[in-house]
């Protein structure tokens, strides 16, 4: 079985090499698809974010997760109940970089007839591991777009490859991302409640990412791709003089194509949470609504029961009670 799979992959690779001159097919997948994907991404993403941003935030509705600022001798919680811009930035950084809210996660268990809420860090760890390793992986990919490779990228590569157990250098991020994605995928399958709430698109994104990352891992460690040629292609794409070099492996095209699918799909999917978090009114607003007036741009007058109307209806009763 294993040898058959190996043979199959080798056949695929040969297929890729057979390309010869710049065929229609390689041009399509090497040039048209990535340009289209980026165009869709940019248009879709900006449209999405600008749409959100153009909608007003009528009320100041931070969710407060700590002591408010009130009397001078009561210590407020600067970040969980932010009163200043500094506090909001801190709260946002905590959310974006450390997943603060997921860190709080509790797990419900019914023990006997009592519900218990124990801290659980699995989701937090899985999500954090995935997002940070994705960041490192993407950052390392900068070497394909730059000439010469910036020293910061080289530094990140050094850090990422700190455990030198094999040649080529094993990058931690590449391994962690696959493990984390697998965990995130498996938890959707095995927990009944996760299965209940998961939509097809939730699985789709995870499978897509798993496909991309495993193709990447395979390319780096097992079925080498000519990185010089990849760099050539990328350089030509970003300089808008696209030339597809010969001899790029099929595995590369698979990896590249899936990335393009992800990029094009991004603005239409839940992945826009990447931008949405920054605009989330429960997290990005200050909790100083009693100290600083907040204006709702579409605030309109509503019909009121005025004192005069009320007085007309109640003057007898007021008189009877001897009230002014």
């Amino acid at each position: 079985m294993a040898s058959e799979i190996k043979r199959f992959i080798y056949d695929l690779l040969k297929l890729g090499k057979r390309g010869g001159s710049m065929s229609m097919l390689t041009y399509f997948f090497g040039v048209i698809v990535p340009y289209a994907a980026i165009a869709i991404f940019i248009a879709g993403f900006f449209h999405r974010v600008l749409t959100w941003a153009s909608r007003p935030a009528p009320y100041k509705i931070p969710v407060t997760c700590g002591q408010q600022k009130s009397l001078p001798w009561i210590k407020p919680n600067y970040f969980e109940n932010p009163y200043t811009n500094f506090g909001v930035i801190g709260r946002m950084l905590g959310e974006v970089c450390l997943f603060r809210s997921l860190f709080r996660n509790l797990k419900l268990e019914l023990v006997g007839d009592r519900p218990l809420y124990r801290g659980t860090k699995f989701l937090w760890l899985g999500a954090l591991a995935f997002h940070w390793s994705l960041f490192f992986v993407l950052f390392r990919h900068l070497r394909f777009f730059t000439e010469p490779t910036p020293s910061i990228v080289l530094l990140v590569e050094r850090v990422d490859g700190i455990i030198q157990v094999m040649v080529p250098t094993l990058y931690l991020s590449g391994i962690v991302i696959v493990i984390a994605l697998s965990y995130l995928f498996i938890r959707r399958l095995i927990f009944p409640n996760m299965r209940y709430i998961s939509l097809l698109s939730d699985y789709f994104v995870l499978i897509l990412l798993l496909g991309i990352t495993s193709a990447g891992v395979l390319m780096r460690y097992f079925y080498k791709t000519d990185v010089v040629k990849v760099k050539e292609l990328m350089g030509s794409l970003i300089s808008f003089h696209p030339v597809v070099p010969e001899g790029l492996s099929l595995l590369f095209y698979i990896h590249f194509f899936l990335v393009c699918v992800l990029v094009a799909y991004f603005p239409f999917s839940k992945l826009v949470h990447m931008a949405g978090i920054f605009l989330s009114p429960t997290r990005n607003l200050k909790s100083n609504s009693r100290a600083r007036r907040w204006v709702n741009p579409w605030n309109y007058p509503v019909k009121l029961h005025t004192y005069e109307e009320w007085y007309e209806e109640n003057k007898e009763r007021l008189k009877r009670a001897g009230l002014p």
Partner: protein, 535 residues
């Protein structure tokens, strides 16, 4: 009266979701889990859309919806989506499941549509179908659902089983606030004339008369006289109380529950005793007799219409600033909405305590101070003579109310007061208090008798946390700073068979406050004999 299962039965909860997908909107209306339709007279008072009598338990085809109901709802949805940036919560949920077991209604019922993520999906799925490309193209594959009458019926059931408590939002990595989603759903339902009796009657009363009960000015005056008599019975002092006094320094706005229900009543007595003790130049009003706001459980417009009376009355009376009583959703409004809706309050002055001179800078725009902030400041400055042993009959625990916790963050002030007026104070487990606090189960218009099962299920997590301190420390008093809590928790305690009473914080203050010239106290405000330590 709705008959509901005994607590021993109710606690047998199965958290395993059913085979049926949530996308199927069919829902069996279970008695005890939904409120009645709003009465025609209340719809008329507030001039709501599509006025008629209707019955939720009838088939949805007989609800009397307008012929173009679908068009109306979708148009409203378009409008809401463009009005609120928080509508991005309809786009960014990744269904990570962190919120799933955080909702007290889910914990108490196991009904998977009470998971916050699914509750929001009930609305999001319709949004996707009509307002997103993926939903239009791929339909159910993209998690999109047609808007059908069954969906409307499902919305009514589940969006009136959300107490807008925001606990899920604390745990959400993007802060997605189901409370916002519930607001929209209720507003969508209202656009075709769907609202509940239990919310609209108090709202209509409040609009027309001034408070939820519909207590007119003479009745209000009688009630105040009763409070004065009751205080006299305990302390021997006849407290002074101004009503509709022009030119007073402070206008006091209590939640009306505090003067027409028990155990709220004792908290109300506590307020009045404090004001008299300090000789405050403070007045109550018969036009704005309500800080609570059931309109908030209906639509923001209704809430704004009721809330407007507070500033209007403050202006008419010419007071300097406003003091607010112990109430949950009232304080969400005062803290996050009032100024935006009905401000600027430029006719008022920045609140300063006339006793201590403390400037309440955190309230300098809205000009309304929470009575716990006010009292904590007094105690800190040694302005109150207190005898905490008069509360020795109580082993006190404190329930953080949803709104004051997650839409304000007033945690230390009430605790500081309790610690100064009581000798025995015990916290409930850490994951059930402060920002992680549980709802009483009856917030946001669910405090109806006919919704008893939902209330007892939703209150279960709170009840079990109380059970813990009751068994461990003998706690026998659950104090809180919310009038809905004070109405909801006694029923919850008795249902879950906990011999624990419920009180406001200022009831405890009233017990401990040593007033000048008072007679020797032999009872607390409830007329129970005092039991000092060692007696």
């Amino acid at each position: 009266m709705v008959v509901i299962p005994e607590s021993e039965e109710l606690i047998k909860i199965d958290y395993k979701p059913p085979k049926k997908k949530w996308m199927d909107p069919k829902v069996d209306y279970k008695r005890g889990s939904y409120s009645y339709g709003a009465k025609l007279k209340d719809q008329k008072t507030l001039d709501l859309p599509n006025k008629r009598e209707w019955t939720p338990s009838n088939p949805v085809e007989e609800w009397g919806l307008p012929e173009n109901w679908k068009e109306i709802i979708l148009k409203k949805m378009e409008e809401l989506k463009n009005r609120y940036r928080s509508s991005l919560y309809l786009d960014i949920c990744v269904r990570c499941g962190a919120c799933a077991d955080k909702c007290h209604y889910f914990i108490g019922s196991g009904d998977p549509k009470n998971m916050p993520v699914v509750r929001a999906e009930l609305l999001r799925s319709v949004y996707r179908r009509y307002f997103t490309k993926a939903g239009k193209l791929f339909g159910e594959l993209a998690g999109a659902r047609e808007l059908t009458l069954d969906v409307v019926k499902e919305w009514f059931y589940y969006f009136y089983q959300c107490s807008e408590c925001r606990r899920c939002s604390v745990f959400c990595p993007y802060g997605i606030d189901t409370c916002e989603v519930t607001f929209w759903a209720r507003e969508l339902l209202d656009s075709v004339g769907i609202s509940t009796y239990f919310i609209m009657e108090p709202a209509a009363n409040c609009y027309r008369v001034g408070n939820h009960l519909g207590l007119p000015p003479d009745g209000f005056k009688n009630t105040m006289d009763m409070a004065i008599d009751d205080i006299k019975a305990v302390t021997g002092i006849e407290v002074e109380l101004a009503i509709n006094k022009k030119g007073a320094e402070i206008l006091f706005i209590p939640p009306s529950g505090d003067y027409f229900a028990t155990p709220h009543w004792f908290t109300f007595m506590g307020y009045l005793m404090l004001f008299d003790y300090l000789d405050l130049d403070i007045t109550l009003s018969t036009y704005a007799t309500e800080g609570g706001n059931f309109g908030f459980f209906h639509t923001p417009d209704t809430a704004k219409r009721l809330n407007a009376k507070i500033y209007a009355e403050a202006k008419r009376l010419g007071v300097k600033w406003i003091l607010g009583g112990e109430c949950g959703h009232m304080w969400r409004l005062v803290n996050q909405y009032m100024d935006t809706w009905n401000g600027p309050a430029d006719f008022l002055e920045e609140p300063v305590s006339p006793i201590t001179g403390t400037k309440f800078e955190n309230a300098k725009a809205t000009k309304m101070v929470h009575i716990c902030e006010f009292t904590a400041d007094l105690i800190k400055n040694n302005k109150l003579k207190l005898d905490p042993s008069r509360n020795d009959q109580w082993k006190v625990t404190f329930h953080d109310s949803c709104n004051t916790s997650r839409a304000m963050g007033i945690f230390e002030e009430p605790r500081y007061i309790i610690n100064n007026v009581c000798n025995y104070f015990y916290e409930m487990p850490e994951n059930t208090i402060r920002e992680k606090t549980f709802c009483c189960g009856s917030g946001a218009g669910i405090l109806a008798d006919e919704m008893m099962e939902v209330r007892m299920r939703g209150g279960m997590p709170r009840a079990m946390a109380v059970k813990y301190v009751h068994e461990k420390h003998g706690a026998n008093l659950l104090s809180c700073i919310c009038a809905i809590d004070r109405a909801a928790l006694p029923a919850l305690m008795s249902y879950w068979k906990l011999p624990v009473d419920v009180s406001g914080v200022h009831e405890l203050l009233g017990n401990a406050l040593v007033m000048e010239g008072e007679k020797e106290r032999t009872t607390d405000l409830r007329l129970n004999p005092l039991k000092r330590r060692g007696e």
